[in-house]
């Protein structure tokens, strides 16, 4: 019998009661409904759409609710080349997102500037935003993006929510 599970159903207690830590419960809620803010900037956005569409079906991971409103989203997926002209817009949208917020840098361009080492391209969105997961590829396959999402879920699951809340308050 595994003892390390954070969420457990104790059949001895009557009714539908689950015993867990509040942290774990909150994180569980959060990680399974990470609503993305699809920052589709270039070619990678097509793979992002592919991930959301019929075959790869991102809704298996609770992230199919693409929100173009930053206020309603949890994770910004920066998919594509960030140019200098666009960079401030991306930053601004990120700033408008509500905490807790995460960033996935999808593709070589968003991570490092990729093959566009030129006068107009920001060499990696991490100059601007704190990136949680980088996805390699040009473009990354949908599987790679899903993998990134799962990694992010693992990261979210480990967050000390209550402690952070206390610190902020």
């Amino acid at each position: 019998m595994k003892t390390k599970t954070e969420i457990g159903y104790d059949s001895r207690i009557e009714g539908d009661v689950i015993c867990t830590r509040l942290d774990a419960a909150l994180n569980w809620f959060r990680k399974n409904s990470l609503w993305p803010m699809p920052m589709g900037l270039a070619c990678c956005a097509i793979e992002l759409m592919g991930t959301g569409a019929s075959r790869y079906d991102i809704s298996r991971f609770g992230a199919e609710v693409m929100r173009f409103s930053p206020r309603q989203s949890d994770v910004m997926i920066v998919a594509g080349t960030v140019t200098y002209k666009m960079a401030l817009v991306v930053k601004r949208i990120y700033d408008q997102m509500a905490e807790p917020k995460y960033v996935i840098a999808m593709g070589a361009c968003a991570s490092t500037g990729g093959m566009y080492r030129s006068y107009s391209v920001l060499q990696g969105i991490d100059h601007l935003l704190p990136v949680d997961v980088y996805v390699a590829g040009c473009p990354p396959r949908p599987e790679a993006l899903l993998d990134a999402l799962m990694r992010l879920q693992r990261k979210v699951a480990k967050e000390p929510v209550i402690a952070t809340l206390k610190k902020v308050a």
Partner: protein, 424 residues
Amino acid sequence: MAETRDIQFRDVAGQAAEAAQALAPANDAGEVELQGEKMVLNMGPSHPATHGVLRIVLELDGEIITKAVPEVGYLHRGDEKIAENMTYTQFIPYTDRLDYLAPLANNVAYALAVEKLLGIDKELTPRCRFIRVICVELARISSHLLGVGCYAMDVGAMTVFLHTFTEREKIHNLCESLSGARFTTSYTRIGGLSRDMPPGWMEACRQFLKEVVVNIDETETLLTRNRIFVDRTQGVGVISREDAIDYGLSGPNLRGSGVEHDLRKAQPYLVYDQLDFEVPVGSTGDSYDRYLVRIEEMRQSVRIVHQCLDKMPGGPINVADGKVVLPPKDRVLTRMEELIHHFLNVTQGINVPPGQIYFGHENPKGELGFYINSRGGGTPYRLKIRSPSFVNLSILQRLLPGHMMSDTVAILGSFDFVMGECDR
């Protein structure tokens, strides 16, 4: 977690002032404003209906658009400058990322342009020509599928998007077995192709064609007589024949306005003169017509691919000239001459004669042209990409005023543009 930088933003008021300035010529000083205040609305660059990073500053009087100023350049990546610093072959991957909905077509367009400059466009092997036509038409189907799917989603029908994407995934699979990548294919080479079709590919392609016609029919069932769709698109965004020509539109957007111009017919390249297909044109030039043209073009593409598969000749896929195409590896490793060719090809690039050419290619979005100015040697002196989306979008400032705000989405969707290619 990476370190971040603080950035000084121009304040909101400043940006609003800037937007107002962009619209300034609209209000002459003495004009009496009887209509009340006009509102400036900023749409994009991050907006679901702008298919990427287009920004339009709209001036509204109530719900009617009185002025529209499209702003592009949010995806300007400097492709033309990069091209000047690369050999011709090195630039092929960048062409994938122009119109990233139809990379195969861009690859073919670019290769044909360089071949024209080299003067070897007549020497391409028959097999190469047929495979290239298949590539272009598959790309067209794929691009239009996405175009129609997204258009439907923009005007409120999510199902169509999921439906067409199913077929697109099949095209991605075909591309993957053909070139090794799902959609950044880089499949062509100057003078040929990177590899031949894998065994069984033709059958897979036939199977796909059988399935896609069903899908196109179903898509039509969902949309063509759908009351909501028709109401939102018919009579909206009407482009007259004269305007379409004056603004230099191309592709389905031009043909939707009734101009029968298709470079595959007008300037036949590859083997289009041996193939039997029709060019659909619209009659009124509204958004609905553009949609119908796309649907019909997909059917015609299916026809073309069928014919190509039936006629597919055997033989080599590359021209025999070792100065242009990399020689086969086993010969490179055993023979001196091929070794030298290989070495020069890889280090200096193909030696292209001085001169200038323009080659226009009928891409899914319109006329994708490459103007290459060469001064000899391995790199272009100047490479200009004439991108259809860029030109097509320039009509927005004329088209949008007079429409309702909500029509913007219906019009933008019907243009089916790609910012990667528009901004380059």
